[in-house]
């Protein structure tokens, strides 16, 4: 039987990807380690390597195809035993459906963050889920029972469909339309989920419903276009990063109950300490930034207030033991959030060096997925743009994000006397499902203490 090569999930949260380039043609001999294709994910371009030895039977997805759902069969490898029968039954896509998949891994954001760097390899740890539509994973797409059943019978993944019913509900006519159009991506996607061995042995089977995040529909295109005169704008197609940002932040803002806590931190001691430290390590080429202190302070604060270091999941709170701090890095066309892991345990210079490297590679889009996945909180610092204060959107599956404003000289009153101090305003966005007001305040207070008394970070 031909071995299917599946659209790999290059990160636990990857939903779809672009098949940027084929490195092989039909009939090519391949050996393990050969580069087969390039996949453009939400945040990076990755190469797919062959695991099996054999001959490429059929390339099922066109080069340049966008939005290919994870686990779609993209090509088939013929092994020796296939060769004889191959001509008789040329590369009929195999039809194992999800049911036969050994261990369906219920995908959820929380699962992804529980093992951020390691691929999901122990599905037993999670209860098996008997979802009606396996392709959907944890999120249930709105669909009529009849549509659901027809989709299942015809192997059409609901996630790939646009519902025409009320509130985007997928109804019979949508399935009929999909059947009629017989689009390749649709029908191939259906027969997709094959043996995990083919490509995905080490890759998470993350295929959360794409449409789910788009549920709260805004204006549709027709309405939007009708509002602007044709020719008065340039239409720039979305790249993967833009779509992922749109989907995830829409998801965040529509599913996470945000609340915001603001605090002012005085920076004079920190700035002095930083100056002295930088003088001391100048020879080593290290230059600590205020942001390095902020990363360390937030990481330590999470250790001090561990209840706030958590992630919401339906099954329960994931109380994290590590302080993995994601830091937003603006790049052309979007942003990355590389993660400084164990930031509480690292020295400031370690954090500084690591952050420089991550930021540099983020800008050149060379981050590996495990370097920007997971994390237990985030920092977004817009101080360099002279922003005084702002509220950030939580980056799921985190339960908080710290928005950092500019450090500046401000008048402060101490013991009834007016004086001048360097002050930085910070706003913590909290997921109220995880962090209540008082808890968020404790976290922010602990953070402030570390910032204002930087010596305490060193003990």
């Amino acid at each position: 039987m031909p071995i299917p090569i599946l659209m790999p999930a290059l990160s636990p949260t990857m939903e779809t990807g672009k098949l940027a380039k084929w490195h092989v043609s039909e009939g090519d001999e391949i050996a393990p380690g050969d580069v087969i294709a390039e996949i453009e994910t939400d945040k990076a371009t990755m190469e797919v390597e062959a695991i099996e030895e054999g001959r490429i039977g059929k390339l099922l997805i066109d080069e340049g195809a966008e939005g290919v759902p994870v686990n779609t069969t993209i090509a088939e490898v013929l092994t020796d035993e296939d060769e004889e029968g191959a001509s008789a039954a040329p590369a009929e896509p195999i039809t194992p459906v999800a049911k036969e998949e050994p261990k369906p891994v219920p995908e959820s954001e929380s699962a992804a963050s529980a093992t951020p760097a390691t691929p999901v390899s122990t599905p037993e740890a999670l209860p098996a889920q008997t979802s009606q539509s396996p392709g959907e994973g944890g999120k249930r797409l709105p669909a009529s029972p009849l549509a659901r059943r027809m989709a299942k019978a015809n192997g059409i993944p609901l996630a790939g469909l646009k519902g025409s019913g009320p509130r985007g509900r997928i109804v019979k006519r949508d399935i009929e339309a999909a059947l009629q159009s017989g689009g390749r991506t649709v029908s191939d996607g259906t027969k997709a989920v094959g043996t995990a061995a083919a490509v995905g042995a080490g890759l998470a089977t993350a295929n959360k419903a794409v449409g789910a995040a788009k549920q709260p529909a805004g204006l549709d295109d027709r309405e939007i276009f009708s509002l602007y005169e044709e020719g008065s704008y340039e239409l720039v197609p979305h790249d993967n990063m833009r779509r992922i940002i749109a989907d995830r932040l829409t998801l965040a803002k529509s599913t996470i109950p945000h609340f915001y806590l603001s605090i002012d931190c005085e920076l004079d001691e920190l700035l002095q300490a930083r100056k002295r430290m930088n003088e001391a390590v100048a020879a080593d080429g290290v230059r600590l930034s205020v942001n390095d202190f902020i990363i360390k302070a937030l990481a330590l604060a999470l250790q001090k207030v561990p209840e706030a270091n958590a992630t919401w999941s339906d099954q329960g709170l994931l109380k994290h033991q590590r302080s993995d701090v994601a830091v937003a890095v603006a790049v052309e066309g979007g942003l990355f959030t590389p993660v400084v892991r164990h930031a509480d345990l690292k020295t400031l210079s370690e954090i500084s060096n690591e952050m420089k490297d991550l930021a540099h590679r983020a800008r050149s889009k060379k981050l590996a997925p495990h370097e920007y996945q997971g994390g237990t909180t985030s920092i977004s610092n817009l101080g360099m743009f002279d922003i005084k204060q702002f509220d950030a959107v939580i980056n799921p599956p985190h339960a908080s994000i710290l928005a950092v404003g500019r450090g500046e000289q401000r008048p402060v009153v101490r013991d009834g006397e007016l004086s001048v101090a360097n002050v930085m305003s910070c706003t913590l966005s909290c997921d109220h499902r995880v962090i209540d007001g008082a808890l968020g305040a404790q976290l922010l207070k602990a953070f402030k203490t570390y910032i204002e008394e930087p010596v305490t970070m060193l003990v």
């Binding site: 029972p145 059943r149 025409s164 009320p166 019979k172």
Partner: protein, 468 residues
């Protein structure tokens, strides 16, 4: 006319037209409605509503006759035809007044008169009160002029002995013998009414069964019941030479076996279908295409003339008030550019006939489903096995469901028996939501109700019925 330029003018104030006007007003359109006779159209004045009032009298009369069965005695049981008709008219009047109130509430301009398209969004109206002609204009025009009783050469109403629904609604006398030509919803409801009040009723149907649009099995049950109640039913039969004379009507009836004879009746009711009211509307001049007697429309009720729409009976069958109202909503919302407007799904239009026993259905009959190539699962459950039906003393009837065996889609539901016209909507909702048998099976039906039969019928289709 104080306001002569409108966003929407609706011609005809029946259940299609007045609903269109209300929805348009809700959506902020400056709306007018032109009505030549009375608000509410046939439905409220000469159709749905007054017949229901008459049939209610018949039903109570029938129940009184069976009082002893329930341990009651009612003394001398009699009726006053004039009072029955009076009540029916009063019911109509009340509802017509209600429509007037709705027009006012929604700030819709009501113009009493006869409208005619004058092309380019102009409408000429001959006003009822003074016969003067004025012209109004509108960006959009909806034709909702309805339909009237059909007649054929040799089968023509005279308004005296040969009635249409109109005379039948206000009978001055209780005919001893009555011929009903046509066994569709209208014919059979009148047959039922007059039969209940003691007329000797003969129904002649051209097709091979009564209520030919219904499922065959339902037709057969209905016929058996009507005959048990004393009606004479001829199917596959024809009436010719219907003649009115001093004493009543004579009709030449040719039966299915080819034998023909002339019979005498006190009265005859013609219920052989309807004709759309497309005349004198200036349709041709306005570029509105009429085909097979009906205005041609697309899935959103647009005619062949830009800005002109048609809804309800005038735009083709089924001639049902709720179909007209639904088209009204679709049409107006599409005009307003609303999102999520979908064409009418004809398989989800329920049909109800208020004869005794009542008949209600939605979707495909068993035969139509078979013809469409579905592999079927059929469920049936009789009234005789339902507790509530027995308690009510209404054990006649059954509920039949038709499913696609592969997808579990509810293709059709067909019901005959007490109160089925109130029950059918359960299946209609199910169909609209696209439930399969699984959700219907999971639904908890209250006990004791007639609706339990709807559940059992679904279970029966999959060999899981509990109470039989």
């Amino acid at each position: 006319m104080s306001q002569s330029k409108f966003d929407l003018v609706v011609i005809g104030a029946g259940p299609g037209g007045y609903v269109a006007a209300i929805r348009a007003a809700q959506l902020g359109m400056k709306t007018a409605i032109v009505e030549r006779e009375h608000l509410g159209g046939i439905c409220l004045n000469w159709g749905c509503i007054p017949t229901k009032a008459l049939l209610r009298s018949a039903e109570i009369y029938r129940n009184m006759q069976h009082a002893a069965q329930y341990g009651l005695s009612a003394g001398k049981i009699d009726f006053d035809l004039e009072a029955i008709v009076k009540r029916s008219r009063a019911v109509s009047k009340q509802l017509t007044g209600g429509v007037g109130f709705l027009m006012k509430k929604n700030k819709i301009t009501v113009i009493e008169g006869t409208a005619k398209l004058a092309g380019g969004g102009a409408i000429e109206v001959v006003e009822k009160k003074d016969g003067k002609t004025s012209t109004i204009s509108s960006t959009h025009i909806i034709i909702a002029t309805g339909a009237r009783a059909r007649s054929f050469p040799g089968l023509e109403p005279d308004g005296k002995h040969i009635w249409t629904y109109r005379e039948a609604l206000v009978p001055d006398t209780m005919p001893k013998s009555l011929l009903v030509v046509g066994s569709g919803a209208i014919g059979i409801e009148f047959a039922s009414f007059f039969n209940a009040l003691g007329a000797k009723v003969t129904v002649v149907e051209m097709m091979d069964r009564v209520m030919p649009v219904e499922d065959e099995e339902i037709s057969a049950l209905a016929r058996r019941s009507f005959e048990k109640q004393g009606m004479t039913i001829h199917t596959g039969a024809k009436v010719a030479d219907l003649k009115s004379d001093a004493s009543g009507v004579s009709a030449n009836i040719t039966l299915a076996d080819g034998k023909s004879s002339t019979e005498k009746f006190d009265r005859a009711i013609l219920a052989v279908g309807i004709v759309a009211n497309t005349e004198n509307l200036g349709l041709e001049k306005a570029g509105v295409k009429v085909e097979g007697g009906n205005v041609v429309i697309d899935e959103f009720c647009r005619t062949t003339a830009k800005g002109v729409y048609a809804i309800g009976d005038v735009a083709g069958p089924p001639a049902l008030a709720h179909k007209a109202s639904h088209e009204a909503i679709i049409c107006v919302e599409k005009i307003a550019g609303l999102e999520g407007v979908h064409p009418l799904d004809r398989r989800n239009i329920p049909g109800c006939t208020y004869c005794s026993p009542q008949v209600a259905s939605v979707g495909l009959t068993e035969a139509a489903a078979k013809e469409a190539g579905h592999e079927l699962k059929i469920g049936k459950f009789p009234y005789q096995a339902n507790g509530k039906a027995i308690a009510l003393g209404e054990t006649e009837g059954m509920i039949k469901t038709v499913f696609d065996a592969k997808t579990g889609e509810l293709l059709g539901a067909h019901m005959i028996g007490a109160e089925v016209t109130e029950l059918i909507q359960g299946y209609v909702i199910g169909k609209t939501l696209e439930t399969t048998e699984a959700e219907l099976m999971h639904t908890i039906f209250p006990h004791p109700t007639l609706s339990e039969m709807m559940h059992e019928s679904v279970l029966a289709a999959f060999d899981r019925a509990l109470h039989i």
